[in-house]
Each structure stands twice: as C-alpha cells, then as structure tokens.
Subunit: 445 residues, 2 copies
C-alpha cells in the first residue's frame, strides 16, 4: 500500500475488472441493518423495491455508460458472496461488553449463502437509466451500495473514454486530485480537534482511489481520520474497525407496512429507534431522525431516548441548527448535552467541518463528522483540459426504497430537495408530520 | 512505461540502487567529442582535470549529501562499462550519407574496455564538496555527466530525507511536479511551431523522472519534442535518435595546449571548429562559439565556416542578441540566414522559448531549442509544506575542465557570471580576446 500504489492502479478497477470484488466492499451500517431486518420475521421477507435516483438533471447516465457494460458489472456483482474470512472479521466485532458480537454468527452464515435478487434496467427517453431492484428486504437491501458504487465508477471512467483523454491527461487528472487531497489534509492539520469517519463508498471515484484517500488520511492525520465506513478497506488496512449506524430505509419501510393507518405511520419512526436500541444497545445508539422531519420527531419523542441514545446524526438540516435543536431537546429532558455526540454527515467538506466544529464544540460533548463524497471523490477541478468538463464532478445520486409491501415509500427529510417518494403519498405524509423545521437547501451530492 | 510508472518508481533510483546503471546514461555529445579526442594522438592522453563547480553559494552539498553515500555512488559508477548492445545502438547511427557511422566501431570497442580514472573528494570549510577527476582526456571526460547527475539526484533525495517528509508528502511533491509539467505542455501546445530537444541529463531530478518527462512529451507533443540528448533513454524509448553537438571542453583544452603562446591560444577556437567539421561534416556542424566570447569569434572567423556550418548554439548570450549577431555575420559573408539554424540552450523555459521563437523565426531558417533543466527538473514550487524549502530547486552547477597538461583552463563566455578558470589566466585571456559583446546576466541553472 502507500506510494507503491501506481497511478494506473488508482484507476484500474473501472477498466477491465469487475468493480465489485468483495461482499464487504460496502458501508458497515448495511451489516447491523441487515441483521436487524433478518432477525425479525415481520421484516425479513417483505418485498421491497430500491431505485437509483439521479437528483441532478444534467447528469445523463445513459449518454455516458454503455448499457451492456452496466449490465455486465451488475451481473458480476450478483455473484460476489461473503467469504468465511470476511465473516470472521465481521463476527469478531463486539458490543462494548467486549464479548457480544454486534453481528451474530448465524446471520453471517446465512449471508455467506445468500443469493442476490436480480435487477431491472431500462433507458428512459431523457437518457437516464431506470435501475430498480426488487426482492425480500433482507436480500435486496444489499443492492443499495453495490448499485451506486458501480454506477459512480463507470460514470467517471466512461466520461474519460468519451472525451478520449490521453494517457498523460489521465495522469494529470489524478495527480491534480492528489494535490486537492494534499490541500485538504494540510488545512485539516491546522485544526487537530476536527475528527471524522470516511463515509465515501457510495459515490466514490474508484475503489483504489478510495483506498488511497483512506491510506493517506490514516497515515497523515490518524488522530483526525478515525477510520472508514467501508468494511473491506478497514479489514485490509487493519488499523481501525469500520464504523456506521443506520439509514432511512428502516423507518421508511416500517411506515409502508403501516399502510394508511395514520397512527401506525406516526409511531413507526419511534418503534424503529426503540427496536434498534433493543438489538444493539449503547454501541450503535446514534439516532438518524430526519426521515419525516427532525422537529416533529423530537417534539414527540419519548424521554428515555434522550437519556439512552448517545448521539444523533443530522443528515439534511444545517448542522448548527440541528445541534441547537438537539441541545434544547436534551436539556428539556434534563440531560447534559455535554455527554452527547453530534455526527453531521450531509455533503460536508473541510471548510464546513471546521466551521461547524468551531461553533458547536462547546455545546455538546463531541462533534464528529461523517465525511463522504467530498473526501473520497472531489474531482471538481481536476479535468486536465482548459475547456473544463461540466459533468466531471460528484453528483447527487441516491438508491432509495421506493416501495415496500406494495405501498410507496416516502422520505420527507429536513430539506425538501432531498425528499423522495410518490408525490401523492408525500403530500399525505406532509399532512401527518407537518413541515415545521423544514428548509430548502441546494443539494450538491 | 507510461502511467505504469509508479510514483515510487519515479523516485526510486536515488533510494537504494546505484544511480548510474548504464554507460549511455549520458548526453549524446560525449560520444562524438570522445571519439574526436580519442582519434587524435595529440589529444587522447593529455592529462585533464575536471572539477565540479557549484555556482550557487547557498547550496551546501556537504550539509545535505553524506560523504559515504556520495563515495559509494561514484565508486559504483566507475564500474559501469559500455555493453555490446549499447555499442551496437551507437554504432548504427550514421552521417547524412546513411552509411558512414558517426562513431566508428574501433573507438566503441575501446570504450567497452575502458577503465574510468578515479576521483578526489574533499569537504571544504564552507560545507562544499571539492570533487575532481584527473586522467587521460579520452577517459576522464566521461566523468562530467556522471558526476553531475549523481550529485544532482543525491541532493534532492537527501534534502527530502533531511526534512523527513512523510510518504504522502513525497507523493504530493511529485504529483505537483507532474502538474507543473502538465501546465508546460498545455502552454506549448498553443505554439506548435516551437520545437526542442531535451538537454536535461546533467541537472536532473532522477533518471525515472527524466524518463517520465521524456515519455510524456514524446506522447503529448511528438512534433515539438524532437527527442532527447540522453542516449540510454533514446535507446530505451526507441522513437528518435539522441541528439547533441559539442561542448566548451574542446577549445578550452586546446587553449591549454597552447601554453602562453598568444597566437596559438587565439587560433585554438578556430582549429577546433575546423577539425570538428573534418571529422563529422554537415551532420554535426553546429557551432558552439562562446567559449572566449561570440563577438570576437565571429569577427575573425574564416568565411568558409559561415557557408559550411549549418547552425550555431548560443549558450551564454541572450538568444535574440545572438541571432542578430549571427544573421549579420552570415550576411557579411553572403550567406542567406534563412538556410541556417539557431539552437539556443541557455537556461530556457517555456516562456523564453516561445518569446525567442516568435521574435527570431523570420530571421533564420530554423529556431530550435536545447531545453534542459527547466524541462526535466522544475521542482521550484513543488515542496509540499507551506513553509517552503529554499534549497529544493534547480541550482547552478557545472563540471568543467580546470586544467589540462598542467595549464589552467579558462572559459570566458558571453556572460561573465558563467566564466570559469584561474583568475590570473582569466585576466590573461580577457586581454587576448577582449570583452566586447560580454554582458552579465543572472544564472539560474
């Protein structure tokens, strides 16, 4: 590892090989979430559909990535199963008691044998791919990161092919990205209190580039870069366990299972947080509560959550506003915010992490960050031709649950621009949850 | 080659291996000059001393390069002999008749067996190395490029060691150099008429970096980068023959052989040019005439030289002034300057090449350039720490004849700052040749 990584290596995976070469080349949170779904007979086999959503209308995937190439990569990814060595690594991670595995062995044994459901792929009239994955929840959920990382890597690689960059222009491009990385690290070194985990798998440039970024940050600022959400890279690098919590899919599906029962829809978000704590306890007790709006969640949340949950991950609200809101909520329930953690993770970069940390560090116990796309794929200014390329940049893409048990899934979020779901059902949910605290903000990634 | 070259490779040669791994890892002009000296019994065994001269007082080699390391590299270099395959490559280059070898086989056979003379190395009080090479001219002359490239590579490598750059800082440094190279190439692409040969062996960063620069320029702008002076790299790359003419050593030694005979000293510079033409004819007929001042040379040069020599290489006078002076000289002798070549080679960079080309292209037939240190070792802005490093840059270093046959050697040059030699003898020469046309200019490399 290290500088023995060649410039060719950094870009190689998207060239000739399968992009997906390990079941663990995914975010850690998929594992506890996967176990959470699998262990509950009410959840395990619910039929769920995920869909790739490109939020940025200027990015036309079908103009860049050839359909047969995309199919080949997706087909290859279906064949990648969890190995016994990978299962050992995951199985060895324990809760804070140092003995209870976070992910039990019987579930890992099932994962080793699991077949991934298929996908459906169509090209729309506006040169977009409509990529959907349908199947039993415990299985189909693994497509989320797989689908995104494959599309993301193929997009950059085929953009370079499309513009016929020369071999040296490719070198110039990636050395510029290294320079950008170098500037970020030099900047961060001046703020040694700013600490983060890398959340950069889904919209990555390539696996090798992600690994290079991780190696570099763990070598240069090991006390600031605490590790990665990527399980495979954490296993390979070997210096820190992967990290992650949970995602919006849980309350979204739970709300689908409630059908049109308003009371059940309302309580779904709390039940998930409660069930999660029952399964993983203190260790993974970081709340993600913006699925239907943070404000309404906190207003009606049970008091015990303020005491037991060690922190919160704001993902669609300005982290300053979110911190103030959380502090108020903790104080309302007689909890000292200085014992709690805030983990912002929404489109962060060096400047925003520093700003938020400086402002909020005195208000809560710990401010850490989930630093994603701008850590692992900041290629905005790296195009090697003076003409520039308006598409060679990170873009807003998600892979979300769109339906469960035949009912459309909804995410309202604190930022209407990050909302997803069938418009009629979204309106229905807005009536249920209100929109207090909701504020529109530009979505970069 | 190409991007399969790793960042580690680029810097590897200076790390653990011998820097000098091939007898042909030198400038092409050493071969015709070497043959020129060897073939003439009056020249062959003259005892000559070369000395490494650091013109820049801020660069203290002995503070940076450990003496034992320098000795090891010089000792290793002594053992490197010309191989039969290398001799074949050199022997296959012919004059414009396509049959007469430029370098005859009997000389190459001698070179394959030649033992390199030793060296003397002392550390001076001001932390400089006094590195001298003494021996028969035809042998000792090979030390010039060997000595310089070894010192140059060791200097940068040990500077990095001295400041304990991290592995990633080294990556950041070399990717910055790639970015600088990329900018130069993008700039040159806008001026496709600007053509040059790479003259970047002596003050290079490392062999791998030199090779990377050559590969890049030959791939990106093959109609502008016409090749390299480095014989080994030309052989390995295989796309263009190496190129070179001759250097100041010839008239300098010839003037030593003249002792104190003023007439003989005066005629030495012309005799060399005449002998050179007799041996190599049209093919290598590019004059280097600034050894004792260009103006005085031209004023008294025989008319036939204006007709027969295809061009001139100004090396210490502003190329615009030199071009005007040459044009006047050619016209005085009834020669159309539009049939002639000017090849400036003094401390050039992209901007100066473009400027000189634009100004002089209509005046002579061809303006080409010998682009050296700023092509192959522009590390001025690459230091990865914000504090900067005032020593990590190209610096002015030469390895010159200082004595021949017991007589001190002198170079006056058109720029007094590039003059070398014993001060008394320099004054003596100034009286003989005058200083008309001499103008002081800052020497960067």
């Amino acid at each position: 590892m290290g500088i023995s990584l060649t410039l060719k290596d950094i870009f190689a995976p998207a060239r000739d090989e399968a992009i997906d070469s390990s079941f663990l080349d995914t975010d850690f949170y998929k594992l506890p979430m996967g176990y959470f779904v699998w262990r509950n007979p009410e959840y395990r086999n619910v039929e769920v559909t995920f869909e790739l959503i490109i939020r940025d209308p200027k990015i036309k995937l079908a103009k860049v990535i050839p359909e047969d190439v995309l199919r080949e990569q997706l087909d290859a990814s279906r064949k990648v199963q969890l190995t016994s060595a990978e299962a050992s690594f995951v199985g060895g991670m324990t809760l804070s008691d140092n003995k209870t595995p976070i992910i039990p062995g019987n579930y890992l044994a099932e994962l080793c044998k699991m077949d991934l459901p298929g996908y459906s792929l169509e090209t729309t009239e506006d040169s977009q791919y409509r990529l959907r994955f349908t199947g039993p929840w415990w299985k189909v959920k693994w497509w989320e990161i797989k689908g995104m990382k494959i599309v993301s890597e193929l997009f950059y690689y085929h953009l370079i092919k499309y513009f016929e960059l020369s071999e040296f222009e490719v070198v110039a491009l990636y050395t510029k990205m290294i320079q950008i990385l170098h500037q970020k690290i030099n900047f961060l070194k001046k703020f040694p209190q700013v600490k983060y985990m890398l959340f950069d798998t889904r919209r990555r440039h390539s696996l090798s580039w992600q690994e290079f970024v991780m190696w570099t940050m763990r070598s240069e600022i090991p006390n600031q870069c605490l590790g990665s959400s990527n399980v495979k890279l954490s296993m390979r690098h070997g210096s820190a366990n992967p990290f992650g919590t949970n995602a919006h899919g849980l309350p979204m599906v739970k709300a689908c299972l409630a059908g049109d029962d308003v009371e059940k829809i309302k309580s779904a978000q709390y039940e998930i947080v409660e069930e999660w704590y029952d399964v993983f306890g203190e260790e993974l007790s970081i709340m993600l509560i913006d699925t239907f709006g943070t404000k309404q969640f906190l207003d009606n949340a049970p008091e015990w959550m303020a005491h037991k949950y060690k922190g919160c991950r704001p993902d669609s609200m300005n982290p300053d506003t979110a911190t103030d809101m959380m502090v108020k909520w903790w104080e309302k329930h007689g909890v000292d915010p200085k014992t709690k953690l805030i983990l912002p993770s929404d489109g962060l970069d060096v400047e925003s992490m520093i700003t938020h940390h400086e402002r909020n560090k005195g208000k809560v116990g710990t401010v850490s960050f989930g630093w994603g796309t701008m850590a692992g794929n900041d290629c905005r200014d790296a195009w090697p031709r003076e003409s520039g390329c308006p598409f060679f940049r990170p873009f807003s893409m998600v892979c979300k649950v769109v339906e469960a048990n035949g009912v459309p899934a909804v995410k309202l979020s604190d930022n209407p621009k990050k909302a997803t779901g069938d418009p009629k059902r979204v309106e229905f949910f807005k009536k249920i949850f209100g929109t207090e605290g909701s504020k529109s903000q530009e979505v970069v990634v």
